[in-house]
Symmetry: D2
Subunit: 194 residues, 4 copies
Amino acid sequence: MKKLGIVYFSATGTTKALAKAIEEGANEIENTQVRLFPIGKEQLVDGRFVDLAVLSKLGECDAIVFGSPTYMGGVASQFKAFADATSELWCEQLWANKLAAGFTCGSALNGDQSSTLYYMITLACQHGMLWVSVDAAHGYTKKNINRLGSQLGVVAQTTSESLHEIDLATAHYLGKRIAGLLNEKTRVPLLHDE
Amino acid sequence: MKKLGIVYFSATGTTKALAKAIEEGANEIENTQVRLFPIGKEQLVDGRFVDLAVLSKLGECDAIVFGSPTYMGGVASQFKAFADATSELWCEQLWANKLAAGFTCGSALNGDQSSTLYYMITLACQHGMLWVSVDAAHGYTKKNINRLGSQLGVVAQTTSESLHEIDLATAHYLGKRIAGLLNEKTRVPLLHDE
Amino acid sequence: MKKLGIVYFSATGTTKALAKAIEEGANEIENTQVRLFPIGKEQLVDGRFVDLAVLSKLGECDAIVFGSPTYMGGVASQFKAFADATSELWCEQLWANKLAAGFTCGSALNGDQSSTLYYMITLACQHGMLWVSVDAAHGYTKKNINRLGSQLGVVAQTTSESLHEIDLATAHYLGKRIAGLLNEKTRVPLLHDE
Amino acid sequence: MKKLGIVYFSATGTTKALAKAIEEGANEIENTQVRLFPIGKEQLVDGRFVDLAVLSKLGECDAIVFGSPTYMGGVASQFKAFADATSELWCEQLWANKLAAGFTCGSALNGDQSSTLYYMITLACQHGMLWVSVDAAHGYTKKNINRLGSQLGVVAQTTSESLHEIDLATAHYLGKRIAGLLNEKTRVPLLHDE
């Protein structure tokens, strides 16, 4: 059984909906167990993330997906508090070699959501993880996803807190993709498929 | 009288020392009033920055310098909470055209401190500000500063919480540089000096 | 007379059209002289940019705007060849304190055009320049420009080589903005206007 | 037999030395075949990379490592010309799921080499690849490598064209790491080792 953890902060429910879509996508692959870890204010004391049990549970996962809305050109401070709390694990590189990926949303089509994903990539690299991109060339392949053209991770645009269905489909695809990469059987042909 | 605000988070005193060095540098330019705004945990409730009076005071400044240690490849969550709280001002672009700059520190020579500065640049651009870089070519000009070669802003490396004196000198220089740029008289030859 | 130089690479004419829009915007401000510097293959020998006279002419400008299409997540190699050739000027920081800004275009709405702008910012910071952002909050201020929400610079999306008129308007605005910042008279109230 | 391709541009031999160190590290893992692809000026016509046979050979590799000196805050234009030429492959995502990693060098300790690595990450993500980071926490684990603290990839500092031996060791380690990840046997415990 391969384990996939999705750790995210959601204020309005939009990022949560993306997390759910990733979960559903991952569950389409057999032998996958998905667990969601929403970041809540009860876990934040004086601006610090203190729920270390979450870090321990994420440590049992084979892949971790990071999610946050884009606030002022970066991850929400609540997500950053979580990221800062992982520094203990960093010292020992306890998450090394796990797969990592990310998703975000914002109110504009190109409103620095990339900056949020670059931060998540930086966090993953600090942990020695392998970053999984979105293998969909905008306008050429997998035309039913990735309408915005981001391949660093999932970028969603939200207006009035409703998500575009293609953005949800991109999230669903990313979940399925990571679960597939984790699965032994799909990993053998990993480097040659499609 | 030109006003320069320095808003920063410091956990151990290292970032505060850099802020002080910037203040001292700025004070070497006549007609400059510097004010420090340390971010404290009493300003953070449930992970959110709630001291809106600080935002108002920063709004009176002609330049704002951002400072944070680099934690897990980005600004500290406490600084990010401050940044997130500026979203109200963003809507009206109340900080447009102010000068902006940044400084950070970390325990490694090249430990993703750039990522922290890129975030501060992104924040400044979201506010319509003008980003002031460090005009010192490593190994060629101003050889008494910028030993690490970063021109996005001030990068300091700290070991055992003691700062390298050249990094402090770089911070001092940046303060003086910004205050000079703010000063009417130095602004006229701004584009041609040195 | 304030001088603004626009240096860009354009393969299909799209980036050139953005450059023209910036020129037109800048020309709306009195006392501004704009000059375009298209990068052509005759300036490239063995992949290196060899037209050093262009660098010299840009050195006479008070502001320099960088333009390139986004190719594979970054500036076109032709633009990069130009950037690499500026290393001689870098050593002496000959472009320090000039204003800088950037524009790019791509076929997707959010196809790593930000990455191109981050590179241009990095280049500007290496030269000790001041980066001018787009002071338009998507959905709140200046609603007739910046439909995509990027404030690092101008991002345009092009389909079948036709530019969206709002993206052209954003470019026009950026030109006017920079020329205004360069003009003495508008510079005095620079920090407080609007 | 797993294939690893290293594609790089080297003007002075420094980047080539890093490529060689990666090759040697990879060769320590059985069942690995390494091939170097230096980018030469004979492959560049009018600033474009025209040796499409190289792209085809890289397509046969299971992992591709990108290398370039940092010039003016980014990859060398010669490397960018290569990257631009991969756009044909991008349309079909022919490199999807391959492993990717990167290395760079510069004359300063923190002279925007991160910017070069971020570009290589962006390129890898555009191709749907999986980015392999350096799983060494500066000052805590694997203390004989990664003296500069970068985990995005290998950053080397070079003075007078001589490389620091620890930077070469970091490159050697990265080669061994990728070859290990490619090897079936080491891939099974990939997510749990050390």
